[in-house]
Symmetry: C2
Subunit: 407 residues, 2 copies
């Protein structure tokens, strides 16, 4: 018998009705003969309800106690889902993160999983029980409750799948798979049956927000076969695989990603000597601001222009900081733009095909869209454009790379 | 430094405002120089909210999962109270029952405490931390979450006080102490500064519902000094002590208790031979019905009348059952009355004073109240009367025993 790990997020368990629907899905999978481990999030809205109370008492949200508080959200869901399964004549047993036990470091609110003791779960599975585990949470080596931060329930599911050597880890969400582009922008976007791990990594970090990048990275580390599918309708979803099938028919490009949550900053006329990049980015990093794209070009006059992108919410802070750095470095000045978007084409096929970047640039030119920055990796080409052109660019590229045509 | 255990019930922590008020109280006690361990219940209404959801999913409420569910209620409170204490510049640390660890048997929903590991709490106390523990809950020896049933948070507090050899266990509630009678009935009723453990045991089992009898028994077993006081106003409350002070001035009677939640049943004309009581009460006990008073008198014709009281909610069930037993025993028949009340006078002084029962009976006679049953113990006299006379009886007895006069 194979072990299947299934994860249902907050929306999927957001009401009594939805919990019953999940119980139906799980009992079908169980009837198919697999051993089932279910990971659930807090009912949607519950974590916020708890945090609102906490903020009213202490806006600083002491980290250890915040974890004690919010971890009750998933604990409620595991109990209710087990009750729904038991109602259907199944044997079900709930586990909190601490009961499993999922051991983490001590970083409250953003803990990393260190070890999973799967002995109790295996014993229960062998007795025919369906196991329901609270996602998002663990305990440190002293038994203090920790939470894993954003996307933590996905990480819990992937980590359990890795520990249990599960056949598949199914992430149920409110979309029915990974698409060639955002279907809200490109109506012709197609659900991919399969996407490679590396493509998924680029797609999720670039804004195709189906899976948190952290869980995809975790899955890649342990080669956990990951499937994204809808908890609201039946369907095969999208399988994230680790082998590229040598299929002649395979598209060069897997999909188009976009992200309009960034802003760009440029420090111009920086005297060009070793250590400049570190001086600039080190200061930004110290403020906890994530830098995404980085571009540097040496100019003729022995100075350099240094450009990078940051989350749009950090734009003003980063700009203020950069002005100080500019003065210190005797640079010419600071410019910035928070009305930009990043659009990327992603695909492992790019490795063996030429002309991808050129087709991308030609397509954007044809639509009159000016490219502000370019950055490439082995399996993607990203450009920064004015954000008002985002939808136009994504649609044009989707068509140009023939992603609307069934391969 | 002495250790003080304080317990705050659901009403006392029923809102953000109330939790802040508790934090104020606790910080005052801490400032007085004691080491503080706080035990809290779920915010009032929370347990019901959770159970309502559960019942909608599975009316049978699977016991193990019900405990996983409702135990989140106290977990929310410990986190919020710690946040409120930290806000006031104090070091505070929360513990779930499992984290302490409070080990119980495996009886979900009505578990009994077996052992408390106080090592982590002692270490934290020595570091100056205020400890906040989730009441009502523990774990069995396999780490499954259990709950202690009705009055469980009081039991948690008393058990922790016993384990930590606390100087005092303070039970904060919505009344400011134990009264000589129910103040809603007797406006002149006085708060007692002190009551003996045995008196408290009789008073709580007889209907003075300040403390659950289970926690009083537990306190008695380990001689934990217990103090009942109000979480809403300042005051010394009532101390439950283990030594009777040989004070000449001490009242013979401590208080008047009443209980109008009972019903009485009589099986008449039972052939009188050994084993009859067991036959009757054994059948009642098997149905899980608690019997309180039991009275048997042998009649002249070699038959006996057998009377007992049961909770009023069990009256109809018990009556139906008793009719079957009556037929089997060839008894004359079954009579019953569910409009009765029990009124008791309680006091350790009774041991050395005569005339208590007589004064009680005389007082009731003077008011024209007929006595239906009488039962006595070393420190109480209980009578069953028509429930419409309850208030009249309590008021008359309170006056007759001069309980309204400051001793």
């Amino acid at each position: 018998m194979s072990i299947i790990v299934e994860k249902y997020g907050g929306t999927s368990v957001g009401s009594i009705e939805r919990i019953n629907a999940v119980a139906e899905k799980v009992s079908k999978s169980y009837a198919a003969g697999d051993q089932m481990v279910i990971v659930v999030s807090a009912m949607s809205g519950e974590t916020n309800r708890l945090l609102e109370m906490a903020k009213e008492i202490n806006p600083h949200l002491p980290a250890r106690e915040a974890d004690v508080l919010v971890s009750t959200g998933e604990q409620v869901t595991i109990a209710l889902l087990c009750m729904a399964l038991i109602k259907r004549g199944l044997q079900a047993r709930s586990y909190t993160g601490g009961q499993v036990r999922i051991e983490t470091d001590t970083s409250h609110g953003r803990a990393r999983i260190r070890n999973i003791d799967d002995s109790r779960i295996r014993r229960d599975l062998d007795e025919g029980k369906i196991i329901v585990v609270a996602g998002y949470q663990g305990v440190d080596n002293e038994g203090n409750i920790t939470t894993l931060g954003r996307g933590g329930s996905d990480v819990s599911a992937v980590a359990l799948a890795a520990a249990l050597k599960a056949l598949e880890c199914r992430i149920y969400t409110d979309v029915d798979g990974v698409y060639t582009a955002d279907p809200r922008i490109v109506p012709e976007a197609r659900r991919m049956d399969e996407v490679t791990f590396e493509e998924m990594l680029e797609l999720s970090s670039l804004g195709a927000k189906v899976l948190q990048i952290r869980s995809v990275e975790f899955a890649g580390k342990y080669k956990v076969p990951l499937r994204v599918l809808s908890s609201f309708e039946d369907g095969p979803g999208t399988l994230i695989s680790y082998e590229v099938k040598r299929n002649m028919e395979r598209a060069v490009i897997a999909g188009i990603a976009h992200n309009a949550d960034e802003a760009k900053l440029t420090i111009t006329g920086v005297p060009d000597h070793p250590g400049v990049a570190h001086t600039i980015l080190g200061r930004i990093a110290k403020k906890g601001i994530n830098v995404d794209m980085i571009i540097q070009n040496v100019a003729a006059d022995k100075t350099t222009d240094f450009t990078f992108t940051v989350p749009r919410t950090d734009y003003e802070n980063a700009k203020t900081l950069l002005k100080k750095v500019s003065t210190e470095l005797a640079a010419r000045g600071v410019t910035g733009d928070n009305t930009i978007a990043k659009v990327s084409v992603v695909g492992v096929g790019m490795r063996s095909h030429t002309g991808v970047a050129d087709l991308m640039f030609a397509t954007l030119a044809q639509e009159g869209i000016n490219i502000r920055m370019i950055s490439t990796s082995e399996i993607k080409v990203s450009v920064i454009i004015d954000d008002k052109y985002t939808e136009l660019a994504v649609r044009a590229l989707h068509k140009a790379f023939e992603l609307d045509q069934k391969k």
